[in-house]
Symmetry: C2
C-alpha cells in the first residue's frame, strides 16, 4: 500500500536492530484519514470472503479494525489485555508474550462476543514474532469459530510471525512488508 | 442522540447501583456504524470551534475519537495507561483513579504529540466521576495547550464528573445523559 509505505518512510523511527516506532500515526497519535484508507484496503483484499466479525487486540489494533469493520459492515471485538493472574469467568483467554516489552499479557474475549461457527477476520497493527495473532487464533479455535484470514498493517518479514501463521495455514495480507532496516532506512520487500 | 439512547436501552446492562455495561457496542465489542454516527455528531456539535487535535484515553475512547477526528480532519492522540511506578521520560502524565476498578493508572502522552497553544478537544466514552477527563485537563494545562471542550458518549449525570468539569469552566457535550437507573431501566435526562 503505497501511501502507507510513504508514511512509514517519512515518519517511522527505527530503534535498535529491529524496532520500528510509528507512534506519530498509528500507536499513540493516530492519523484518521490513513486509518480509513487502511480499513478500505482490508475490505477490498477480503471482499470475497464471508466475514461475520473482526477480532483485534487493544489498543493499537482498534483504529485500523474499526475502519475495516465499517467497510465490511461487521462488528469489531477487541481482546483486552490483563496482567493479573486472576481472570474473570466466561472469557476465552490466551497468553501473549511481548518480545519488545518482555512481558506476558493474558488476552481475553468475553464468551458472549465470539461464537461457534462465526467467520472471523483478525486485524492487527504489527506482525513481528506473531505472538498476538497466534493468541487470537488459539481463542478462535477454543470458541470453535473459523478464521478467515489475518490483516496486518505493518509486517516485519525478517521475524518469525509470518512463518508461524503459514504453519497454521492461515491467509495473511500485510499492507506494508518490511524486508530490513539498512543505514537507518526502511527497506520494503 | 436518539439512536444512541435506543442502543443503550436495548443492549446496555445495569450492574449494581450505578454501573452500566455497554460492552456489546462500545467497550469490548464495537459497532462501527454507531461509532461513525457518534463521530459525526461530535464534529457537528463542535463545528464552530477551532480544533487542532483530539485527545482520548485507551482503549474505549479510541473508536469514537478516531471517527470524530476523521470528521473534523484532525489527528487523534490516545493517552496510554501505565500502572508501573517508573515512567518513561518526555511524557506528560496524570494519575487517574478508577472507582469501578479501584485502581490508579498513570496516563501518559508523549511530549511530541501535545504542544503549547494547540486547541484540543477531549473525547471519552463515559463521564462518571470525571477522573479521566480531569487527568487529560491536567495534561493539557501542563503542556500549555488549550482545551476547546469535552465530548462524552455516555454521561451519568448522578455522579460528580459534570460538576468537576463545570468547575474547570469547560464546555461539555454528552450524547446520552443518564438521569438514573430505575427498576432495571435506564432513565435519560
Amino acid at each position: 500500500m503505497k501511501i502507507l509505505e510513504q508514511k512509514i518512510q517519512k515518519d517511522g523511527r527505527i530503534l535498535g536492530a529491529d524496532v520500528l516506532k510509528v507512534d506519530s500515526f498509528l500507536n499513540h497519535q493516530i492519523d484518521p484519514e490513513l486509518m480509513q484508507a487502511i480499513g478500505l484496503e482490508f475490505a477490498a483484499l477480503f471482499a470475497n470472503e464471508k466475514i461475520d466479525k473482526i477480532l483485534t487486540v487493544e489498543s493499537s489494533g482498534i483504529a485500523p479494525a474499526v475502519f475495516a469493520g465499517l467497510a465490511l459492515h461487521v462488528p469489531v471485538v477487541f481482546a483486552r489485555k490483563n496482567k493479573s493472574l486472576t481472570l474473570p469467568e466466561n472469557v476465552w483467554t490466551a497468553d501473549v508474550y511481548s518480545f519488545t516489552k518482555q512481558t506476558t499479557n493474558h488476552i481475553m474475549i468475553d464468551h458472549r462476543f465470539l461464537s461457534a461457527n462465526e467467520n472471523v477476520l483478525i486485524i492487527d497493527d504489527f506482525l513481528a514474532n506473531g505472538q498476538a495473532a497466534e493468541g487470537l487464533l488459539k481463542i478462535i479455535n477454543a470458541a470453535e469459530a473459523n478464521v478467515v484470514g489475518v490483516g496486518i498493517v505493518i509486517e516485519k518479514t525478517f521475524q518469525k510471525g509470518r512463518q508461524i501463521l503459514d504453519e497454521h495455514g492461515v491467509r495473511v495480507e500485510s499492507l506494508a512488508r518490511i524486508k530490513s532496516f539498512e543505514n537507518g532506512q526502511v527497506i520494503f520487500l
